[in-house]
């Protein structure tokens, strides 16, 4: 599955509710989606996610992040990074992740559960 940048709008709206109005339309370079994620690195980075999100996929009050399609995962994280999705913790966490780190996380979480 390959997505072009415009798909971000749909996904941001579908998954996060209201995007911040007044922001520039988000864009995602297809090259970002093409990055091969390093799952070992992802496993380490995932530690930061797993203080809140559960490795067993259960979700109460905090969304499930296991078993996602990597493209969807990467797109959602970039939507936070670009402040299209509005959650302050996720904007802060995604804000400091590099494109490679996001790809690594996507590679790790896709195979969990």
């Amino acid at each position: 599955m390959r997505r072009a940048g415009f798909a971000l709008t749909a996904l941001a709206t579908a998954l996060a509710g209201s995007p911040v109005t007044g922001n520039e339309a988000p864009s995602l370079d297809p090259a970002i989606l093409a990055i091969e994620g390093d799952a070992e690195w992802g496993a380490y980075l995932a530690g930061e996610c797993l203080t809140c999100h559960r490795a067993d996929g259960l979700a109460e009050g905090i969304p499930r992040i296991t078993g996602w399609e990597p493209d969807d995962f990467v797109t959602a994280m970039h939507a936070y990074k670009q402040n299209w999705r509005t959650h302050p913790i996720m904007q802060m966490v995604a804000g400091r992740l590099s494109d490679e780190e996001i790809a690594a996380l996507a590679a790790y979480f896709k195979d969990l559960e």
Binding site: Y44, L45, D56, G61, I89, M92, V93
Partner: protein, 419 residues
Amino acid sequence: MTWNRRTFLGTGAAVVAAPHVLAEGQGKPRVVVIGGGAGGATAARYIAKDSEGMIDVTLIEPTRTYFSCFFSNLYLGGFKAIDDIGHTYGALAAAHGINVVHDWAVDVDRAGRTVTLAGGGVLGYDKLILSPGIDFVDGAVEGWDISAQNRMPHAYKAGSQTELLKAQIAAMPEGGTYAMVAPPNPYRCPPGPYERISMVAHVLKASNPTAKIIVADPKPKFSKMALFEEGWANHYPGMIDWIGEEFGGGNVSVDPGAMTLTIDGDETAVDVCNVIPAMKAGRIAEIAGVTDGNWAPVNAADMSSKADPDVHVLGDASQQGDMPKSAFSANSQAKACANAVRGALTGSKVFSPRYSNTCWSLIAAGDGVKVGATYEATEEKIARVDGFISQPGESAELRQATYEESEGWYAGIIADMFG
């Protein structure tokens, strides 16, 4: 250091040969973790899980059931049962092969790399992780010591103390007074005392609406102050009297026999007196000789002690820089430490640390707020990078969502510690 057979025989042989050392699985590197709380349970679990049997992990923790301080205020407020905040160590032993020893560590010999238990056993280690939480500074509140904690509970180590405080609140006479002596910085959970005041007010508003709450505080301001003050004015108007440094809130003494609190020379009779004294690193850190003053200084990159590269100190006991003393912080630090320890002992890849924290607080039913930040390791300390805080005047929907998120966080961190 990369672990191999030669280094093991070279440096470990003497320790292994000592007759009283309880080393099972000899030949594997050994990690001993002291304290099975937010820092220690997480570190033990990650090292055991990720090393897949290559490292022998022992966790020393005296209590069979860990009652988390986090969410203990929600228990006081009636939002949780005591069992909801109690967690056991069975899965750490059964699913992760951790040797869980329910005992106290009473001595650490860093030269010989051994830990002595109250029961008399001695454990050898290659890496030692200390996450003993806090103890109280002697004489911090005039008139109070540990013998007074039944009349004037701290409830700052959760469990029986928290149950006691809840029972005392329920037994207050109509129109009675609940007093808190708040601690000076730095202490565990900066918003903790104020979330507690909110939860006590929540209970009293329903059961004893003419009751009063007094807070004697040695600080001029406190965490999330604007949010708490707004919430107190909205939900509990006229009930809470916060006396800060400026009005002598730091000049207090108590008389547990007479049940009085004296603030800046003014004596008041109180019905409940929640004394939260000044804090220091759990005593075992001092015994291990890794403290400097009240806390244990650590290197930001891997939480290793500044006094000894083979000892790591996590969580509340550590002095690391900008992170608040919270369960979230301890859990975050534990993962960076676990990764570094595993790398040193097995040669696995060591990644640069990622530190973050978020603290949620509940002000009233469905009125949740939060504050959070990310951090990075510098030469000097763990330094804050970026952060956010809930704003006064947020919608009820957002506050409700924030509260629900805190429930999710609690389930998540408990799974990450004990799952």
